[in-house]
Symmetry: C2
Subunit: 222 residues, 2 copies
C-alpha cells in the first residue's frame, strides 16, 4: 500500500541514509559531537561529503535522525491502524504517545548526548515538524477530502504541540523565569507532557470530526 517505489534505487538510497545517520551518531558518541567533521561522517558511510549534504542539511540533523528515524511515518500508520469508531482525538494522541515511547528510541547514551548539547536539543525538537505531512494525510483520511484544509491546520497544530512538549522535556530553550507564586515541575515524563499538551487541542479535533460526520449526512451543506 504505502510501498512507493520499491526498486533497487530506492533500496540503496535508504541504505545510504541509514549508514549516514548511524555513522553520525556513532562518531558523535565516540569523540563528542564537536570533534566530528562532516567529512568523517561521509567517509564512515562510504560516500562523498557532497552526497552527505544531499541527505542532511545540517550535521545535527544527521545525528538526531539516528534516534528520530522513521517516526513520522509510523505515527501516520498508527493513526490509520486505529478502528474507525475511535474518537479522532484519542487516535491521534495515543498514536503519538505510542511512537514517542518506542523502546528503540530510548538509546540512553544517545538521548543523554542530545539533551546535553543545545544545538542537538534544538535539532531534536525541530525534528518533530516532520510529522506534519504524514499527519495531514492521516487526519484527512478520517475527515474526508472535504476537510483537507482543516486537516492541514490540525496536523500543523498537533506538530506544534508535540514540539512544545519535547521542548519542555529536554529542559526548555532557556532557564525558566522564576515564577512568583507557583511551584514549577521541572520536566516530568514525556508521555505525560505529550498528553497534557495535546489535551488543549482535543476540542478542535472533536469539532472537526463532528463537522465531517454531519457533512457526510448532508453533503449539500458547506
Amino acid at each position: 500500500m504505502t510501498a512507493g517505489r520499491t526498486g533497487l534505487r530506492e533500496q540503496k538510497k535508504q541504505a545510504t541514509r541509514q549508514a549516514l545517520r548511524e555513522a553520525a551518531l556513532r562518531l558523535a558518541l565516540e569523540r563528542g559531537p564537536d570533534n566530528v567533521r562532516v567529512d568523517d561522517i561521509a567517509d564512515a558511510a562510504g560516500v562523498s561529503p557532497r552526497t552527505y549534504n544531499n541527505y542532511f542539511s545540517s550535521r545535527e540533523q544527521a545525528i538526531v535522525a539516528a534516534v528520530t528515524a522513521e517516526r513520522e511515518s509510523r505515527v501516520a500508520a498508527a493513526i490509520a491502524a486505529r478502528p474507525d469508531g475511535v474518537r479522532l482525538a484519542d487516535a491521534v494522541v495515543d498514536a503519538i504517545v505510542e511512537q514517542y515511547t518506542d523502546p528503540d528510541a530510548q538509546d540512553g547514551d544517545a538521548l543523554l548526548l542530545i539533551t546535553t548539547r543545545p544545538a542537538l536539543r534544538e535539532a531534536f525538537v525541530d525534528a518533530a515538524a516532520a510529522i506534519e505531512h504524514p499527519l495531514t494525510d492521516a487526519i484527512a483520511g478520517r475527515l474526508g477530502d472535504a476537510g483537507r484544509d482543516t486537516a492541514r491546520v490540525l496536523a500543523a497544530s498537533v506538530a506544534a504541540a508535540v514540539r512544545v512538549a519535547l521542548d519542555r522535556w529536554v529542559g526548555g530553550t532557556a532557564a525558566a523565569p522564576p515564577v512568583a507564586g507557583g511551584l514549577v515541575v521541572p520536566s516530568g515524563s514525556l508521555p505525560d507532557l505529550l498528553r497534557a499538551a495535546l489535551a488543549a487541542l482535543a476540542p478542535a479535533l472533536d469539532a472537526a470530526e463532528r463537522r465531517a460526520a454531519s457533512a457526510r449526512h448532508d453533503p449539500g451543506r458547506i
Copy 2:
C-alpha cells in the same frame, strides 16, 4: 508598561537593526537578491559583516524582516487591547488579521520579490513563528497564570495555523497535487485564508477560556 530597557544602548540597537533590514531590502530590490552579498548589506548599514550576523542569522531573514518588522509584538499588543469581554478566539483572530492587513506591509514591490523567490518565500513564512512567544504572553494574560502551559500550546498552534495560511497564500511549498474531483482555488485573499485556518482552532480556544473562567470561580479545582 511594555517599555523594557529604554536606554541609549537599546535605541542604537534598534537603529542598527532597522538600518540593516532596510539596506537589505533596498539592495535586493535594486540588484536582485542573488547579487547582494552580506558584506554589501553591512557596508550600507555602516557596520561590520560580523555584526550583521549578530542581528540576522541568514540573508533571507534580513530582507524579509523589512516587511515583517515588529509584527509579532503588535499582534500581542492588539490582543491585549481588546476588551476583556470579547471571546478569546475572536480577539486572537481579529488581532492577527488586523496586523497582517497593515497597509504598511503591502510594499507591493517587496512582496512581489519575496513571493517570487523560493528562498525568500520560505523565510517569509517561517517568520510567522516569531509571534509564538508574544502570543503566549497575551493568551496567558487572558487565561490566568494557571493556564500558562495551555497558553503556550495554543500560541504555538495559532502560529502554526498562520504559517499554513501564509504558505498557501504565497503559493505553497510545491505545486498542488491534481485533485480528482474538486475545484481548487489557487490562493484567495490573505484575510480569508487566515480566518479559515484559525477557525479550526476556535473550539480549542473556547474550551481553554471556559476552563479558565470556571477555575476562577472554583480555585480549588485543578
